[in-house]
């Protein structure tokens, strides 16, 4: 090791590691799937309501130890996307669907969908699998049937 390199290793600031970049094609091929443990229902209007269990915090948690159920009602577009998160549509398929259904620009559709999925992921409502559920079942990579709501 050269002296300047050694010095910089000793005294230099550690560079923040850049997050690994993922190829766009890989992302478009991912399949979003709803968390099977999540309770949700579809109204006649087409809107989807997701029932989330929230743990009480602070003083309320001392008084009432039970859990609180919270209902999240998705808007028309959010519900439409939620219905497509059945493990049979890839990210790319859903983008195509939004472009066709809502006449969105492709870039706008990709961006808004990515940010929506990010929110759903953070809340633990969806997850991504590497291929379509039916294909994975055929390959024997998924054994259990996901419960239908």
């Amino acid at each position: 090791m050269k002296i300047p390199e050694a010095l910089s290793k000793l005294f230099g600031r550690k560079k923040a590691r850049a997050p690994p970049s993922i190829d766009r094609d890989v992302v478009l091929g991912l399949v979003p799937i709803r968390n099977p443990a999540i309770e949700w229902r579809r109204y006649k209007s087409g809107e989807v309501a997701i029932i989330v269990t929230v743990k009480r915090r602070g003083l309320m948690a001392r008084i009432d130890k039970g859990e609180k159920k919270k209902k999240i009602i998705l808007d028309k577009m959010g519900s439409h996307v939620w219905n497509l998160c059945d493990g049979e549509h890839t990210f790319g398929d859903i983008v195509e669907d939004l472009v066709k259904t809502y006449k969105m620009h492709r870039r706008e559709a990709e961006l808004s969908l990515a940010s929506y999925f990010d929110t759903l992921m953070k809340k633990g409502l969806i997850s991504f699998i590497p291929g379509k559920l039916s294909t994975l079942r055929e390959r024997g990579e998924v054994k259990q049937e996901t419960p239908q709501t």
Partner: protein, 305 residues
């Protein structure tokens, strides 16, 4: 490959249809834009105004650019000799660089008509060079660094408009589903709003009331800059594909020597594109005002596809 015309801040070029602007900085005198393809960045254009006698020789600029590239990445390699080419009849220098599997063309030239120094960069993968070559040729062949006539083209995503050269882009908002552009000249201003997913936005947020949308989405942005009062006259209009309102008013600005401005807003839904367009013109009243108003109306009220 299908190409489209892209115009911004006084220049025009042809790019593949799926390339769109992803970064836009600066203004008319000095600026930068980047166009991305579906997978990665494809094109960069930066421009800066210089008087002809202040511009350094092209060779010096190219050397400085090479030095900058070397500083940025030690692995950069320059392929072949620097070539002298012509862009829209101006002498230009072209260098080709390679960093691992990525390649790029850097072209630098000075346009004496617009008094701007241009720096154009095109990116491609090493293995796609031969399939990509016709795209590079088309871009270089079609690049107009100074545009003739009286109009400039402005392209933002799927939205293109032509405006008189006196207008400069002063403010822009790019959000998912919304593009807002404010152009200003000495005596007039144009504010354009394009809102996507019209059927969802209108029904879910504004109870299908276009005027409510106008009050909450379009006018607040303009009222930050102009003292637009309530509209005095409102007229409804509709044709086969469009439905909306035309609203007019006027206001005075200034205490000692007040200037009078005429304001016209047209808001409409375009069913085929599922978009809402709102256009507001603010024109100072005067001898040329009527001519300008009718010219802008012709250009702006038919912007939707």
């Amino acid at each position: 490959m299908v190409f489209k015309t892209f115009g911004w801040n006084g220049f025009e070029l042809k790019v593949p249809k799926d390339w769109d602007m992803s970064i836009d900085r600066g203004g008319f005198d000095k600026g930068y834009i980047r166009l991305d393809g579906l997978k990665f960045p494809r094109l960069e254009v930066s421009w800066e105004q210089y008087k002809e006698d202040k511009v350094k020789p092209l060779n010096d600029i190219v050397e400085a650019a090479k030095k900058h590239l070397r500083k940025k990445d030690k692995n950069v390699r320059f392929i072949g000799k620097d070539r002298s080419i012509r862009i829209y009849r101006h002498p230009a220098k072209r260098i080709r660089w390679r960093i691992d599997g990525d390649e790029g063309y850097l072209i630098i030239w000075y346009c004496d008509k617009s008094q701007r120094l241009y720096r154009l960069q095109i990116f491609f993968k090493q293995d796609e060079y031969w399939s990509f070559k016709n795209v590079i040729t088309e871009i270089l062949k079609s690049f107009k660094c100074h545009v003739g006539g009286n109009l400039y083209t402005w392209t933002a995503l799927d939205f293109t408009l032509k405006l008189p050269k006196i207008f400069r882009l002063e403010h822009r908002i790019y959000k998912v589903g919304k593009i807002a552009l404010l152009f200003e000249s000495k005596d007039s201003a144009i504010f354009i709003n394009r809102i996507g997913m019209a059927n969802v936005v209108l029904s879910e947020k504004y109870d299908d009331d276009l005027r409510k949308l106008l009050e909450e989405e379009h006018l607040p942005d303009i009222r930050k800059r102009f003292k637009i009062p309530k509209f005095k006259r409102v007229r409804r209009f509709s044709d086969e594909r469009h439905e909306g309102f035309i609203m007019t008013t006027s206001y005075k600005s200034g205490i000692f020597m007040p200037k009078e401005f005429f304001v016209k807003t047209r808001v409409w839904t375009c069913e085929p594109s599922n978009k809402i367009y709102a256009v507001t013109m603010v024109i100072r009243k005067g001898s040329e005002a009527e001519k300008m108003r009718s010219r802008l109306e012709r250009l702006l009220f038919s912007i939707c596809p």
